[in-house]
């Protein structure tokens, strides 16, 4: 594989960030859409129940369960996996910026970005740390 050396200019970083965000949204939407079709086929005739809040079951709440369950080919699990990909897209964007600032040797912004990334990871997987 050929590796091109890139200058980590602002324009190059912006280009990659743009591509990263678009790919994340496109892939996540496609998975959600496929899951949505399966969901409509399977549950289409059932009655919707959103008036009374009961909360989702554990397999649709926990990040590791969502990742494992995508292979179960159950429609709700597939949608949830697509949604998880979507939620991870901004996190990937921040992680990439951390890498880019490190390449640019911009120490201040490495620290700034690391703080944002930590907050995001706390929200997404922090539950495993305190429960």
């Amino acid at each position: 594989m050929m590796r091109r050396k890139h200058e980590w200019t602002e324009e190059y970083v912006e280009l990659i960030v743009g591509r990263l965000l678009r790919s994340g949204v496109v892939i996540a939407s496609a998975i959600v859409f496929i899951g949505g079709i399966l969901y409509s086929i399977k549950y289409g005739a059932d009655l919707p129940e959103y008036k009374i809040f009961s909360g989702e079951p554990a397999d649709l709440r926990n990040v590791h369960r969502i990742i494992i369950d995508v292979f179960s080919v159950r429609s709700r699990d597939i949608i949830q996996f697509g949604l998880l990909l979507l939620m991870v897209t901004p996190v990937a964007r921040v992680a990439f910026l951390l890498f880019a600032f490190a390449k640019q040797r911009d120490r201040t912004y490495v620290v700034v970005t690391a703080i944002v990334l930590t907050t995001l990871l706390f929200s997404l997987v922090g539950r495993y740390l305190y429960s």
Partner: protein, 278 residues
């Protein structure tokens, strides 16, 4: 009404919410939550979960285009994201401890305020050439394409902007909206960043802000796949179409009409909260 009919109607409703959100500049979330709770009778917690997901989708989708055009200031964005993400986590924690009626009332008030902010006439402020030491240290000054050349701008009042961003994050995490109006207020009004840069950078930040609270909503079981699916796909497509129309049409009248719609939704939310129906 069965699931298929419900899903289709929610998709159509979310499509128009996304369209409306893009045309008013308020974002899809502020329309989708009242739509789901008032029209479809969905519990506000499920509505907020689904709305947050759609907010991430539209922000990321639109940001991918703006970033390439060179308006978005990534450094300003990521620096202020410290405030919005911590605010968002705080907001999500607050939401879990708050009665749903109170959530509905706060939502209505924020909605009215956002509509007011978006209708306010915008005057581009005279550029401030004094160099703000904090802004300079954080390299928050930049330039953007303007006609043939690039226009240089200097940010100022960084602490005030940062503080207001924390509030924007809290509102986003509490109500499941992008709170773009408050973000733009912080950058445009306080930090004196040019409007075009403020709006695109705000949009850039919205996805990360929403991502900071959505994990907490997910782990609490507020994100329902059956509901979030049509909401996300509907709002995303509506918002993308809205952005195209916005580029082509004169929008003063559209904005006025839609702001009236949003005002009515807000009043209905507050009323429902006060009478305990939400």
């Amino acid at each position: 009404m069965n699931v298929l009919e419900f899903t289709s109607l929610v998709w159509v409703g979310s499509f128009f919410a996304g369209l409306l959100g893009a045309l008013t500049g308020l974002g899809g979330g502020v329309v989708v939550v009242p739509l789901l709770t008032l029209v479809f009778g969905v519990d506000i917690r499920y509505a907020i979960g689904a709305s947050l997901v759609s907010v991430i989708a539209t922000s990321s989708g639109a940001a991918s285009a703006y970033v390439k055009e060179g308006y978005t200031n990534i450094r300003i964005g990521i620096f202020l994201e410290i405030a919005t993400t911590i605010g968002a986590v705080f907001g999500a924690f607050l939401a879990a401890r708050m009665h749903t009626s109170l959530l509905a009332i706060i939502f209505g008030i924020v909605l009215i305020h956002s509509a007011y902010l978006s209708l306010r006439p915008r005057r581009e402020r005279a550029g401030d050439d004094r160099i703000d030491t904090i802004a300079a240290r954080l390299r928050l000054n930049g330039s953007f394409p303007d006609g043939e050349g690039r226009r240089v701008y200097h940010a100022r009042a960084v602490p005030a902007g940062f503080g207001l961003m924390f509030s924007a994050g809290t509102i986003s995490g509490l109500l499941g909206i992008g709170s773009g109006a408050v973000k733009v207020l912080a950058m445009d009004h306080f930090m004196r960043i040019p409007f075009k840069v403020s709006t695109t950078t705000s949009n850039f930040m919205i996805g990360v802000t929403a991502a900071a609270s959505v994990g907490i909503y997910l782990s609490r079981g507020y994100v329902d796949p059956g509901l979030s699916m049509p909401v996300m796909l509907g709002v995303l497509i509506g918002a993308l179409l809205g952005a195209r129309i916005l580029a082509a049409a004169r929008t003063r009248l559209l904005r006025l009409i839609f702001s009236m719609v949003i005002f009515l939704l807000a009043v209905e939310m507050i009323y429902s909260g006060l009478t305990g129906r939400i």
